[in-house]
């Protein structure tokens, strides 16, 4: 009866509908849209704060994004835990370093994949804060509210992603 709960994958429509209902709950119970990238800015702020408290107090950005472990921060800890629970209970949890698609195109060197992931992460982190949100905050929470900025952002995410992926892996449709 509970087999579906432990199956490795659910249809994307079911998962999407679930995220939609989750968005209702965050608005209703927390008066906030679902978002993910703010937690990373808060983490950066907490690290800065651990190094120099005065420095953080003088930085205007951390007056907007307060470096505290609040709702927006615990959500990302929850996502790590949720990913683990889903993978572990369906028997798909496995340590991995180089994804198959990356290995096929660029080789299975772990250090190289980590260097690329770090560079990509830094770029993404700058872009997410620059645009004021990520795939979750703009791409789902903002678009469903009909935010003009979020629809423009989502289109730019895809444009930038398609261009970069095509340059890395080649455009199959050309």
């Amino acid at each position: 009866m509970y087999d579906w709960l432990f199956s490795a994958t659910w249809p994307p429509y079911v998962v999407g509908a679930g995220i939609g209902i989750l968005a209702w709950m965050t608005f209703l119970l927390s008066d906030r849209p679902l978002g993910a990238s703010t937690a990373y800015a808060k983490t950066a702020g907490m690290i800065e704060k651990a190094i120099s408290r005065e420095n953080v107090a003088s930085m205007p950005y951390y007056r907007q994004v307060t470096p505290e472990p609040d709702w927006q921060w615990t959500i990302i800890i929850g996502v790590i835990a949720g990913g683990f629970i889903a993978a572990y209970t369906s028997g798909t949890f496995a340590l991995s370093a180089v994804p198959p698609l990356f290995a096929a195109a660029f080789g299975a060197d772990t250090f190289f994949r980590f260097a690329v992931a770090l560079a990509g992460g830094i770029t993404l982190g700058i872009g997410a804060r620059w645009a004021g949100g990520c795939t979750t905050g703009h791409g789902i929470s903002g678009t469903l509210q009909f935010s003009l900025a979020s629809w423009v952002a989502a289109l730019c995410f895809f444009a930038g992603g398609i261009l970069a992926a095509g340059l890395l892996f080649g455009f199959w449709f050309l």
């Binding site: 994307p12 429509y13 998962v15 999407g16 995220i19 209703l28 008066d31 906030r32 702020g45 800065e48 930085m59 994004v65 709702w71 615990t74 959500i75 800890i77 929850g78 996502v79 790590i80 835990a81 949720g82 990913g83 629970i85 889903a86 370093a97 994804p99 198959p100 698609l101 990356f102 992931a117 770090l118 990509g120 830094i122 770029t123 993404l124 982190g125 700058i126 872009g127 997410a128 804060r129 620059w130 645009a131 004021g132 795939t135 979750t136 789902i140 469903l144 509210q145 009909f146 935010s147 629809w151 423009v152 952002a153 730019c156 995410f157 895809f158 444009a159 930038g160 261009l163 970069a164």
Partner: protein, 185 residues
């Protein structure tokens, strides 16, 4: 507003954030969208799982949020964007996303399911956010406010209520999902 007692309880909110995060991570993992190959496959236009998840979430999410907003149960949280902020930042984000192969939420979900490269990516996102915070005063003066958008929401831009926009978005989403299904993507 109703639920203000819950919304203002800081300890409860921290726990709710954790609970919402667990559900979110669980769903992302079940949807397969925490996989690098699936995420990059979306940008290579060979795997449309990411788009299917996003469009289904928008379809279901918007119905509830706008109904609850009309009933006075929730308020919207939208911010105005600009070309300097939204477009430039969005393009940088998209490029970084394709190189990393995970977004901030799916990197966390993938880390939880054992993808070590996603954990390295998470460290990168923190560094990137930290770099942006340091550049923020300069960017705020020079780029971020360039070309401000004329409205916060699409209904405001068009001068209509959210209802016709919701109908149009719903039809658009259903057509895209039906097309993807018929094309076998």
């Amino acid at each position: 507003m109703p639920f203000d007692g819950i919304r203002q309880n800081r300890t409860l909110q921290v726990l709710l954030g954790l609970a919402f995060g667990i559900i979110f991570g669980f769903l992302l993992q079940k949807g397969g969208v925490t996989l690098y190959d699936v995420m990059v496959g979306q940008f290579l236009l060979t795997d449309f799982s990411v788009l299917k998840v996003m469009l289904s979430a928008i379809l279901v999410g918007m119905a509830g949020i706008h109904a609850m907003n009309a009933a006075g149960l929730v308020r919207l949280h939208v911010r105005a964007g600009s070309i300097g902020s939204t477009v430039i930042g969005g393009l940088i984000y998209g490029a970084g996303f394709a190189v990393l192969g995970y977004c901030p939420a799916t990197a966390a979900g993938a880390s939880g399911s054992g993808a070590l490269d996603a954990a390295v990516g998470m460290a990168g996102i923190v560094i990137g956010a930290g770099i942006f915070a340091r550049l923020y005063p300069v960017l705020e003066r020079s780029v971020l406010n360039r070309g401000k958008f004329p409205a916060e929401t699409i209904p405001q831009l068009l001068g209509v209520s959210p209802v016709p926009v919701a109908c149009a978005v719903a039809i658009m989403i259903l057509i895209i999902l039906a097309l993807l299904a018929t094309m076998g993507l």
